[in-house]
């Protein structure tokens, strides 16, 4: 299975990924690739395997088979920690925030700043430093939180989304996966997320966007890869494709569109 431009120059690529849950074969030899500084959209109908594929690439789930290439070499991503060391960050669909902790604590979850010296070695964390850095991060991304000391549960849906996105943006150096980042948002907020995606691309970051919202995908993506029944069935360019063709590839109604 060859698609245009797959073999050369990609930053991250999945090849022939297989994953089953019991009798359910979520991925049956799925391919996927991302170039440096591009917005790669991953679309597909419910159950096509999008989320499973992203979880594998972000180290949350381990594949049964297949290869992952990163920076020109093949590797395994055994855990979220390993993915993070590679510079890969994920905005999960459920946001993966600890609702009882404040935004700064969530931003630094698992990467707490310790106090200097002996206190740090005893495990004391530097709440003040984390709070200041979190304020900086939110300000840089243009996220207005009236009260940064309030727990995440008290924030609005859009603000929670913003916290999850800024965590990924703060720590990512190579690729950011965004699983339905606009699903819970209103029109204005969704627009801001798309704007942010463009800005990230402008700074050289790769963004993988999973979305059901095809107009948004067409607005921001450089390439669209279509997953169907656990396989990639098409790689399309928005400026050379219509939405009908993408829908055709997603549903299998028009496999010719996959070219």
């Amino acid at each position: 299975m060859t698609s245009p431009g797959v073999m050369n120059g990609h930053l991250l690529a999945a090849k022939g990924i297989v994953k089953s849950y019991g009798h359910v074969r979520a991925l049956q030899g799925a391919d996927f690739d991302v170039f440096p500084g591009e917005v790669a959209a991953l679309v597909g109908d419910n159950g096509a395997g999008k989320s499973t594929l992203i979880k594998i690439l972000s180290g949350t789930v381990r594949p049964d088979g297949g290869e992952i290439w990163f920076d020109g070499r093949t590797l395994t991503i055994q855990s979220p920690v390993e993915a993070r060391h590679l510079g890969l960050e994920t905005v999960y669909q459920d946001l993966a925030l600890a609702a009882d902790l404040d935004p700064a604590a969530n931003l630094f979850l698992g990467r707490e700043i310790r106090q200097p010296g002996l206190r740090g070695r005893l495990g004391f964390i530097d709440k003040k430093a984390m709070r200041e850095k979190a304020e900086d991060a939110f300000a840089t991304l243009g996220i207005g939180l009236q009260d940064i000391d309030v727990e995440v549960a008290m924030l609005s849906g859009g603000q929670r989304q913003a916290v999850a996105v800024s965590r990924a943006v703060t720590w990512a150096s190579r690729v950011i996966f965004m699983d339905e980042p606009t699903a819970a948002l209103g029109v204005v907020q969704a627009h801001r997320v798309l704007e942010l995606i463009r800005r990230l691309r402008g700074s050289g970051m790769s963004v993988v966007l999973i979305s059901h919202n095809l107009p948004q995908v067409f607005e921001v993506a450089d390439r669209i890869q279509v997953l169907r029944l656990g396989r990639r069935v098409a790689t399309l360019r928005p400026n050379q494709t219509t939405m009908e063709q993408v829908v055709g590839a997603m549903t299998g109604a028009d496999l010719e569109a996959a070219s």
Binding site: P80, G110, Q146, V150, M154, S156, R192
Partner: protein, 348 residues
């Protein structure tokens, strides 16, 4: 973008900004003040008892007795606070306490029941016994998917049974070195502050520092709040849970040892409801049974409300059975407040 973001967001998600902002800040204040509220309840209780019979209730002698009685429960409740914040539960603490007492007593009796080395060996074996049950609990809870309620209900029976097997079903006597009883059991710093109380206070302060200021504490909250998010954030959730249950077991062992010093014998039959008392204290103190939130300060208050009610009722000649009724009501009220807060929060 920074300047226009906040108002746009408010307009988008809520019909009226004024309406939306008010309850949010009010709720935040209420949440922060959970322990404060329950502390006020404690102050009122103390004030009422003092007003009704100041000489008996507020005497140094009486207050000393209350704190001595509460000290072993406080030690257990500190461990229970960590466990409940991870959204777990440890029903086994009372049995583990008894098991640790029996092990420590047998070790000390075997060694001659005299001298500093015997005391240290007894302490070490008691802590080891408690920690081992904690490790067993933690391994099962973290590695299998058996709920903590069931695992610790199982070890409650196992530890109790094992303690009875080891002791032959009767309290181990003649095992506690007299030096231990004189110092830890009955002694006071400067002739005023009982060592028992100092030990409990030390455990509480260290527990509070760990919970509120260290990474260990931060992970405890994070796991109770969202275990899957913690895992994705790179926190080793099973390992942390094991540590938390070991801590609970160790503190049960310590409480058992402290009680040995006080009563000079094991107290096999005395701790059937220690688990429930500890859980009640933690929950009355504002720690949520659903995990993710709570404070050591609240637990201290939660230990003292039942203790002072019991004591005050006795002094006033009210039948002490009323204490159980009152504590039960306070417990239900505390959980009710937690639920109201959660619901208000989810409506955001």
């Amino acid at each position: 973008m920074a300047r226009e973001k906040a108002p746009a967001e408010t307009a988008e998600l809520t019909p009226s900004p004024e309406e939306a902002e008010l309850p949010r800040t009010a709720l935040a204040g209420l949440t922060a003040a959970t322990s404060t509220w329950i502390f006020l309840v404690l102050v009122v209780i103390i004030a009422v008892f003092s007003a009704l019979d100041f000489d008996s209730f507020a005497s140094v002698f009486n207050l000393r007795n209350i704190t001595i009685d509460a000290s072993s429960l406080l030690i257990i409740a500190v461990g229970m606070t960590f466990v409940i914040i991870t959204s777990g539960i440890d029903l086994s603490v009372g049995s583990v306490l008894v098991f640790s007492q029996v092990v420590a007593s047998l070790v000390m009796r075997e060694m001659g029941a005299e001298g500093m080395d015997v005391i240290l060996a007894g302490l070490a074996s008691g802590l080891l016994a408690g920690g081992a049950w904690g490790l067993f609990n933690g391994l099962l809870i973290a590695k299998t998917r058996i709920p903590a309620l069931i695992v610790t209900l199982g070890t409650l029976g196992m530890a109790q049974g094992a303690a009875l097997l080891l002791s032959g079903g009767i309290n181990v006597r003649g095992a506690v070195p007299p030096e231990l009883v004189r110092t830890v059991g009955l002694g006071r710093l400067f002739g005023q502050i009982p060592y028992l109380v100092l030990i409990a206070a030390g455990v509480t302060i260290v527990g509070g520092v760990i919970l509120h200021l260290t990474q260990f504490g931060r992970y405890t909250y994070a796991i109770g709040s969202n275990a899957e998010a913690s895992r994705r954030a790179g926190i080793n959730v099973p390992r942390h849970l094991i540590k938390v249950y070991v801590l609970s077991g160790l503190l049960a062992g310590l409480a058992g040892f402290v009680l040995l010093a006080r009563f000079t014998t094991t107290t096999i039959e005395g701790h059937g409801t220690a688990n429930l008392q500890a859980i009640a204290a933690v929950v009355i103190g504002g720690t949520s049974l659903f995990g993710g939130r709570g404070a050591i300060f609240g637990t201290v208050v939660g230990v003292f409300i039942p203790a002072i009610l019991r004591n005050g009722f006795i002094i006033l000649g009210i039948r002490p059975f009323w204490q159980q009724v009152a504590v039960g009501a306070v417990l239900i009220l505390a959980v009710y407040f937690d639920q109201v807060k959660r619901r208000a929060r989810e409506r955001q």
